[in-house]
Amino acid sequence: MKILPPLYEALRFLILDIQKQLQTIQDGLEREDPTLFDKSLERIDYIENAHINLLNRAGATYCADSCRNERLNIQCYEHISTSLKALSSRLQELTYQLKQMKSLKLIQKKPVYQAFDSLNKGLSLISAAIESESLGLAIDICRLQVRIDKTCDQQLDKYKKSLKTGQQTEALLQASFILKDVSIMGQALLRVGEGIISANVGQFIQIDRYQALEASLSELDHQLSQNDLKIHSMGETKSGCTISGVGTASEAEHSILAIFKEGKKRKLQEEKAGIESWHQKFPGIAPEVYSYQKQGDKASLLFEYLTGQTFDKLLLEKDNKHLKKGLNTLFNTLLDIWQTTRIKEPRSADFMRQLNKRLGSIYDVHPNFNLKGLQIGNVKQPSLEKLVEEAEKIERDLQVPNAVYIHGDFNTDNIIYDALTDQISFIDLHRSEYMDYVQDLSVLIVSFYRLTYFDPDTRKRIARSMEAIYDFGHDYAEQIRDRDYEIRMALGLARSFLTSTRFVLDQEHAKSMHHKGRFLIEQLIQLDKTQRKNYMIPKEIFHD
């Protein structure tokens, strides 16, 4: 975690004083010297001071323009300090109880000493864990909580048994309370580890979530020693899932072993089902699932990290070589998938119905797109709602070929191309289903256009990629005698151009997509039946 000297300094004083507090109590216990208990209480003021000091410095470190990560880092310092303060307060509580005990015999037990040792060890690890770049030590701190809990439970069980004899009940109860306090200190230690892990991962991780990751990892058949574990945050998806890469700290950052994704249970269940459906229908295209864990309405999924690049990244290479190879490998893969998965039943994509459903959310982001019909002299232009209504009628009459298994969210960043092995993989498979192949193609074309890369060379590569996908589809349509490809493609493109504006905040770019979508529909509804047969999508639509 990032070292912020003023905060770190205050934190180190805090740790030092708590260590002294704890050590004096341990000594008092071992030597049966109650004066040491009083001495331990003298640390309280120092601890209080150090904590307040850290909070004040944290307040001063925050500034209006600190970025999210900086702020998180400061918050983690505060979290650690507050947890340590809680630990110290428990120690204080425990000291008062010890002072009241007539005999310390019940407390002078091996498990109790062990628990204290664990606490001590935890405290001594904190500085090193903060300074370390890997998570190993922070995980160790978290692990100590489990150990402390276990030893406390052991001893508590013994007390319980003794209580049944009915002798020295009062002392036994007092001792039980003390053990409870020790166990709660273990919890505080866990929060300290949580703070360090959160700062390193770049997002606040609650420890129950962390345990989910750990459980997943232990299922992963890989000899990961805990010290080597490294997790780095890779961002968030539109559906609100967080994604992290899990890899080894010892090697370079490329050595990500797995992707850890967590979020709403429903989403991740869908994703898992999607991946599994692909394993069945077309093995080798979807990542391997290592583990799936659920808890309440949250779930986490640990799956294979696929090497290669997504198409939005391939576009950024100056050279067309990989892009071209990647696209054509994608096309061949699609041909294979379509041939393998075709069922004997057509399923219309219902592009206009999809569009109709999303009109509201388009206008939410771009209220200026919600226009009434227009009239200049004799020329009339209907509203978008009217256009969609008209186009829906056309779509109903179209011939749809037999359905194939489609990706369902076929965006540039959901397709990975590995240039080394010349292989394509799919990710984000929660919407896969049987449908018209044009659904995936049209979504992919627009997902290229939608990218907010604006330098002219990249724009050119985008246009050419779009054209290539369209050409590929056209070629395939000829092969399977799909006579309504052009019109369905136009409707699919219109749908995606119009609905994708929701994700595009650049006004000019969004407007240009909106215009293209409208244009295609306006063009289509003006065609008579024979014109429709010969309709070709104007290639200008792929250019800016």
């Binding site: 067309n320 892009l323 071209k324 696209l327 054509n328 096309f331 061949n332 041909l335 294979d336 041939q339 200049i376 050119k460 246009a463 050419r464 990629s465 054209e467 290539a468 996908i469 050409d471 590929f472 070629d475 215009h515 244009f519 104007p538 200008e540 639509i541 250019h543 800016d544």
Partner: protein, 97 residues
């Protein structure tokens, strides 16, 4: 690559008939795909594409009224030398078992 940006501008007072003939000339140019604009020094040949962005702006006030017509399109075909298609047509033989 396009050389430097070319520029043409014109402003004059015209009667109704003349304005109609200007607009007609533009319409015919759009139809042909070529609009020639020239004064004594500069000649500018515009090639409107099949698809252009049309913008109409009108304002009306007590003092005056205004109607603006704007057509814009991109000349992407200008450097067609680099425009070899990215899609390689598969040979018919690629039919698998």
């Amino acid at each position: 690559m396009a050389k430097n940006n070319q520029y043409f501008e014109h402003e004059s007072l015209q009667d109704k008939d003349a304005i109609i003939s200007y607009l007609k000339a533009l319409t015919e140019g759009i139809e042909k795909g070529e609009i020639l604009l020239s004064d004594e020094e500069e000649t500018l040949l515009l090639k409107p594409g099949k698809i252009s962005l049309l913008r109409i702006k009108a304002t009306n006030s007590k003092k005056n009224s205004e109607l603006r017509l704007r057509l814009s399109w991109s000349n992407y075909e200008a450097d067609s030398d680099k425009n070899a298609p990215l899609f390689i047509k598969a040979k018919k033989a690629s039919k698998s078992k």
